[in-house]
């Protein structure tokens, strides 16, 4: 008897009992169900929720792999054991087994915890509430490891995932009903609950926190540190990464958000498969560029000087904002979440534009929260239904007017 048959008989055995949703979920996760609907009218479409989710996960895999390499790379470069990359994206210093294995063994537990805990909560709720397990968490579980620092303590991740899934999603009624993006809720929770583990110059490089502790205890090893570019700019420090480093992603940051190149490819893939909305992505980019350009103009007009605490980020060239921090990642994978984004086409333009616009604003004006994109997306998530409401009302009004004109 094959695995499929086993699962099927397990499913039959638990049919009608409390645990049924859990076994149904296991079965449909791995296989198409044995039984299909009979009679009546059906529309058969290939793009069910499972396929949608899997497409996004496929778009995320390159970022994950790159993140593993980068984790190792950042560690060994900061420790002075290897040279920085010199020859473009395929530099041999970067794509080494040594880098990968360090990153792999650090990221794997984060990934497993994210999926294990998140799906556990999801199964639990499905069993208690007696509905089927939804596929929504498959993407969230993949996003979470990509947007946390490499050195995040695992127990904090457990707390945050439970919080994010329960408060961010289940209390609203599960997948499809949530107002906030669950992955960002998890990150926001971590950010406000444990700020020392989510910002600063120690958490982005594997082992930096550990090394600091050892030094405090009398070790003579050199300190390791790696400030994110946003962090340096917020303090008006110079940045010694080239634009190409930023674009390829050879910079410190959350695990999967550094490589703008791979995010761009993922974004194109999502647009091509019609999973992600190109309107939101494009308008977010425009919004970010506009806000960045306004700040550049402010600096050019001489309204603020380099003694201002906003100078570092304000004077950053406006298109650099897209390359640093989680901007690109947020726009491509978070803002486009179909559940929490605006649904109408016009609404998507407004929603996306404001995400980009507000992200850069928060980034510049609030150096305490150097990553504005997370807060901007969560804020716009809340406003998405309002935007939709007015777009729909506007449309209703226009058509009523037209109808009146015709009859008059």
């Amino acid at each position: 008897m094959g695995l499929k048959q086993n699962l099927h008989s397990l499913r039959e055995k638990y049919k009608g009992t409390k645990m049924a949703p859990a076994f149904n979920a296991l079965h449909t996760f791995l296989y198409t169900p044995n039984d299909t609907a009979h009679g009546g009218t059906h529309i058969k479409a290939a793009d069910d929720l499972k396929r949608t989710m899997n497409t996004v996960i496929m778009a995320l895999i390159p970022c994950l792999i790159f993140g593993m390499f980068n984790a190792g790379y950042q560690h060994y470069v900061a420790a002075g054991e290897i040279e920085a990359v010199t020859s473009g994206f395929f530099s041999s210093e970067f794509w080494t087994l040594q880098n990968f294995s360090l990153g792999f063994w650090k990221v794997l537990p984060i990934l497993l915890i994210s999926y294990g805990v998140g799906l556990g909560v999801e199964f639990l709720f499905a069993v208690i509430k007696g509905h089927e397990v939804e596929e929504g968490y498959l993407v969230t579980g993949m996003l979470v490891p990509l947007i946390v620092p490499i050195d995040i303590p695992l127990w904090m991740l457990v707390v945050a995932v439970v919080f994010g899934v329960v408060i961010g999603k289940e209390v609203f009624g599960g997948t499809g009903m949530n107002i906030l993006n669950p992955a960002l809720t998890i990150r926001a929770f971590l950010f406000f609950a444990y700020p020392t583990w989510m910002s600063g110059d120690k958490v982005w490089v594997e082992g930096a926190v550990q090394r600091t502790k050892e030094i405090a205890n009398g070790s003579t090893a050199d300190a390791i540190s790696g400030e994110t570019i946003l962090g340096s700019l917020a303090q008006s420090h110079g940045v010694d990464y080239s634009v190409m480093d930023m674009f390829f992603g050879f910079i410190p940051g959350s695990i999967g958000e550094t490589s703008t190149l791979l995010i761009l490819l993922g974004g194109l893939f999502l647009i091509f498969t019609k999973i992600g909305s190109w309107r939101i992505m494009l308008s977010s980019v425009i919004g970010a560029l506009v806000m960045g350009y306004i700040f550049n103009l402010v600096v050019a007009a001489g309204w603020i000087t380099d003694t201002s605490k906003f100078y570092g980020l304000m004077s950053t060239e406006f298109w650099h904002h897209l390359l640093i921090g989680g901007m690109a990642f947020g726009i491509v994978y978070m803002a486009t979440d179909p559940v929490t984004a605006s649904q109408t086409n016009k609404g998507k333009w407004i929603y996306g534009f404001l995400i980009g616009f507000v992200s850069i604003m928060i980034r510049v004006f609030n150096p305490a929260y150097p990553e504005g994109v997370m807060l901007a997306i969560l804020l716009m998530n809340v406003f998405a239904p309002t935007i939709d409401h007015y777009v729909v009302q506007g449309n209703v009004k226009r058509r009523l007017k037209r109808a009146k004109l015709k009859t008059a």
Binding site: P153, W155, I167, F192, A193, P195, W197
Partner: protein, 214 residues
Amino acid sequence: MGLLSKKDSKLILDPLADDNPITIQVLGICSALAITAQLKPSIVMAISVVFVLSVGNVVISLMRNIIPSKIRIIVQLIVVATLVIIVDQVLKAFAYSLSKELSVFIGLIITNCIIMGRFEAFALANKPWQSFLDGIGNAAGYGLILVIVGFFRELLGSGTLFGFKVLGDSVEKTGLYAIGYENNGFMVLPPMALIVVGLIIWVQRSRNKELIED
């Protein structure tokens, strides 16, 4: 409760659970979010509100037949403002640091919806004794939630209870902190108080399904 008739004891017990001012009527949320970061201010706030509401209810109830209904809100405001000033002065005299900590929120008891709500809904139409019990009950129901929220926020947010380091020292890394535990900074922020109140509401309504509104 041999002391009270069944009807009277209902006045005290109902607001503690099934007719709680915070979790059922959703009143007085503002102060519940603002001062519950620690247990001590929560308890002081609870006691202050018990005093203001019970005495205020009695005063309003005694005057209920002579207050012209057109200016009753002004009269109620004067009564509650007087009582709040008394509380404020007492705290300043005997617990200055606490009074500093609660700062403007003692003064803001005046605007606590629960107090005006009880004056309007109960004291204006009932006898002093019942009004007194109603005041105690509602204020205690309010205080109960404050203490629960304050307990969890202080324990998880600062790792202390009444300022005692029950989970160990977070700087010296003793107790729980020795194994890597850290305080949850989110708990200290007011948004988390709202979520804690929400969780209490969730627990309460899942235990008593009759409370769920459609």
